[in-house]
Subunit: 156 residues, 5 copies
């Protein structure tokens, strides 16, 4: 495979700059990769932008960085967002990894930031693996890996 | 890019004329823009109208202005509406920004109106930026911007 | 525009014959309109029928008349139904107005019937306006119109 | 219309053989109908099978027989299933009637079986009517018909 | 039918290696089958991967192995995932069987593992049957079969 082209979509709603972590991580694994970063207001704007960035730049894969509020209504937006992202992945046949942080994951902002950064970093790696070789992650199948938290490991 | 063509869809259900705020704001940023405004009864009528206004007028982007009641059933309509709007954005590859006000956001009608106007104004700007340059908002990535409320800012 | 062709889909599940009200109302506004009425068992049968009535009769627009039970499961059917109806509107680019009555809107059957009739009548008018001129309703944008209940009016 | 071709999809998850009731009922109304019956494990397998049975056999219509557990997760599967079935109906323009039994409809298995059989029988008739003449059921529009339970009748 | 080509998609999030059980079971029923196994991080990555594995390998059918956390947000992801999987099945007309384990199905990890293995094994068989002969499972229609638990049997 020639030089990878990776799209990143993040939001101004998020409270952590996850994209910078993602870019740093991609640079480690794929120093040659071309990275295109677009920014939208919030999660409901991501699926459309994901479709357009693929249309315009023919990316090999995307990572999308969502931040979701605590309210019930935010959770409903999250469902619609998730359906939208899956639909773009299905219609374009391009890998899209979503990094989603839910504000209720921690009361402590520092902790929330740590979760966001860890999740973004690990999923940046996941995206590269999924694009380059969809069998690569099989060595960790069923191993209880987590992003944002420590791995829980397999049962037994 | 030549003269922008912006579509607006609002509803008779809403209790605030958000479209006028949107038009005022677009006029400031893009005095030449052609603005087309359609009105439907309620949020469930918006996705179809969004598709038709793009078909008929080939808009460069849309802003849709929804108002959602307080009941559980209204929230279910909101989910379906959100999926519909995302679907139109994905199928047409046109940016669509939604401004949604939920009636339970404030008990006080004056406050609710303030939320609606602030959200409409800020998202009108967002739409212009997203259409003209999808990398423009990157300077505020992860900055905790809010529409309808004061920005919360980034963590740290 | 020549003679309008309006499709109506209603159900045997409903407890009020809303279609007759719709037809009466359409006749007032558009005496020449051709009206095609199909009936299905319940709301989950409406989206498919909506697609087929457009395929077969090339209607200019549809009004669909749903009746939803009180149970949680009925509400889940309502979400799926709403997504389905929006999808038909998006895929066919035809205006579809839905009139939905939820059984819990009133304990009193007489009151429920009044709600259903008022909603059907007002939305029949809405459909004609939306088909003939999508800017027609703009004079009531943000005016807090309601169907099935009295208008609440704009804030301020 | 020549000889009808009806598809039936049922599940091994269900606790009542509703398809046999459906076949018996179709035989009464349409003795010449060709009936094709496919079986899948559970409701989430039905939409795909519905698409394939239409692809392979070009059925004039389908009846699908779902059985849904009591848990919250089962209800979420039901929403996804309902969206899936509607999508197949919309994309293929073929009538699809779903008969869905929810386990919590009765604590008493005998009663649950009665509900399932009554619902399957009545909807088998509905399917034939919807396929042969989409205006046929209009005589019962708004009449409060129920499947699985006694009709509740119209209001007034 | 010539040599079957079966796709498997599993996750690194899961805590049990269900794919190995699936492969073992497929080998028993279809020793000649070609098996392609891809691995993604979590359930929301499965629908896109399912589409791509069909695009790339033209599989005759897929089995997808999901593991869902206990939180409300995980359940919302499950709904979106389920819609996504059904959509891939509908758009590609390929049988896709999903094996989903919900962490709250047992407090006891050993028990959860037993559920996962039993479910994976039984559904591997189901997939082969559904691909080879969609009428094969009819002998168990309405028989109350369960995967992950003992069969409950038909009513009466």
């Amino acid at each position: 495979m020639s030089r990878l082209k990776i799209g990143i979509i993040d939001t101004t709603f998020a409270r952590v700059d996850m994209a910078s972590v993602v870019i740093e991580e991609i640079r480690k694994l794929e120093p040659q990769a071309e990275i295109i970063r677009w920014t939208v207001p919030g999660i409901k704007d991501i699926p459309g932008a994901a479709k357009r960035i693929i249309d315009f730049h023919n990316c090999d894969g995307l990572i999308v960085l969502g931040w979701v509020g605590k309210e019930f209504v935010d959770k409903l937006s999250y469902v619609a967002y998730s359906v939208g992202i899956m639909l773009v992945g299905i219609l374009t046949s391009k890998p899209i990894i979503d990094v989603t942080v839910h504000e209720e994951e921690s009361e402590d902002p520092k902790e929330l930031k740590k979760i966001a950064i860890d999740r973004a970093r690990k999923h940046a790696r996941n995206l590269i693996h999924v694009i380059k070789d969809p069998t690569y992650l099989t060595k960790w199948s069923g191993k209880g890996l987590r992003q944002g938290y420590p791995d829980v490991g397999p049962i037994d």
